[in-house]
Amino acid sequence: MRLRQRAEQLFNIEHIVPVVFLFLSFFAWQVSGLTGTFVFNQVLTRFIRDGILVLSLIIPVVAGMGLNFAIIVGAMSAQAALLFVISCQVAGLGGILSVIFLSISLSVVLGFAIGHVLNRVKGKEMIVTIIIGFLANSVYQLVFLAGFGTIIPVANKEIILSRGIGVRNAVDLSMYRNTIDKFWLLKIEGLEIPLFMILVVLLFGGMIYYLLHTRFGREVKAAGSGSEKAEVAGINVNLLRIKVIILSMVLAALGQLVYLQNIGMFDVYTAHMNADIFSCAALLAGGASIKSAKIRHALIGIFLFHTLFIVSPQAGQNLFHNAALGEYFRSFVAYGTIAFALIINVKRENM
């Protein structure tokens, strides 16, 4: 009996998923034949690119709202803010500041609305946030493909398609590219370590950690462990849940800005795609579940998930002489991880 308990402790989900990922990534890396330096540099780049997006998922999980797939809406509001500022041709520091300001305000407004909606559907938040994400994507495309140049006047003709309506597929961000990535760039024998950006991601992680240990954080945890209990304790759960979603959306918007400035090229209609799925999968790969998530899950998960992500196309090429098979494998891993977490977690609840 005691042995079984020990075994369960050892093989619980928090350990087993990261171990499986570690094993898979190591195997795929060996097969791919890529050098360790290359993979490490790539993973570090992904770490600073996606770090804040993944961290933005943590608070809703703690609040018992599951994976917030609506962070894609936060990502889109950052992109919308960026497009508006570029179309008004605000350059330099003023431009950057207005992008940040605009994307925060947009995501606060949208987060408020989504929070309200989610209060109607307690217990079904995840499916609703997924549909909200799809819907928001349609609205986003409608605005920028049909609205720009027709209803919304655009001063900057460079970003508009030649027919005068709709934004181009790709907008160059070279003026913002890697503006902050190059701070404190350490180079050790081919390894490039963007120390400043790593610190920024860790700082965001620290902020969330701190926030979860304040009064607000304790209330969030209480709401997550059971609404009724929290109501009895005098917490306004509905308001709290709205605050949680707003916070998550603002973090996602900032995360998407970091992501875009790192890439330096802005694919208007596809840059945000899968931001939600990949972030959720990364968080779960680190050992989180849909009921509990910690900062370390996010940080470990990004490393594990993206290592697998980087090496699997090449591994597929070497194993089957077909790189597409590696790509199928990685999308299966992304979706499968989430499906697995959903199935496993509910099973444990029933026990």
Binding site: I127, F134, L145, N322, Y328, Y335, L342
Partner: protein, 343 residues
Amino acid sequence: MKNFSIKPPQVIILIFLIVLIGLAYVLQMDLIVLFNESLIKLVMNGVLVLSLIPMLNAGAGMNFGLPVGITGGLVGLCIAVNFRLTGFSGFFMSLLLSVPICGMLGWLYGLILNRVKGREEIAGTFIGFSVIPLMNYFWTLAPFQNRQMLYPIGGQGLRPKISLEPYFYNVLDQFCLIKIGGIEIPLGLLAFYGLICLFLYLFFRSKVGRAIIATGENEAFSKLSGIDIAGIRLIAVILSTILAGIGICVYSQSYGFIQLYDEPLSMYFPAISAVLIGGSTGRRTYIFEAVLGAYLLQTIYLLTVPIANQILIPEVTEILRTLITYSIILYALLYRDKRGIVH
């Protein structure tokens, strides 16, 4: 019992439809041709819409895992084409093959869904998403022989779009096609659709069917009256999956192509929103609602293409479609629980 009150989504859809028909008239489009096409589109997508009913009735929610059944049907189609079966033998062979394949997939899918009771929709979504890359392996590695199905260069893997033209393209559409003036009524196609509707109707009159409905309406009560909830839900999921497989066979013979790889992902949201437009609330659903919803949604889709091409920007059609689809699903998700209590 049945409540025929018209709800906001239906009002919006009807207004939209009337505006579209008005526009089509003003733009001098051939309304008879559009009507003929609307009948074909109804059956083409209608079976997929019907496939949602068993799971809705069992209280397992909207089947966001529809790609499971669709891929099963696609396997059946591919095997039939691999043996170069033509005409009705090809079509019925693909049906015959897809039923056991979908039955097995549905059984697995049902076992998983029984574990995630109350969260079927989100779990189904991700099971559907994960099935696609898994099946991509199958499409790439399975030993199909027919050269017309394989990539022309390299010879490994099926093409994303396999033409059914030399095999069983339009066999049902052309069967017993009656022409009155300009109006063409595809009697064979409609009869096939009618048969499936009849089968479902009779099924829900049977003992098992009644048990499914009872489980969906009140699980605790059904359990007390001795119904094996898990088994009943499993039957509903299997039936849904098999119907989805048949649905994709009908779809493909009308469309003329087998669409593989990521294509199943673009099919299930329209199907779900169709059943919701018809008046389903995400719970007990009547066959009539599925038929009506499929007809309304497909007619709207049919009308938006030429109209948008004439007066709007071409890409807007597709965006408007998805916008309508997702809004309807979101509306249903938000307002379902309230209505569920009122009944």
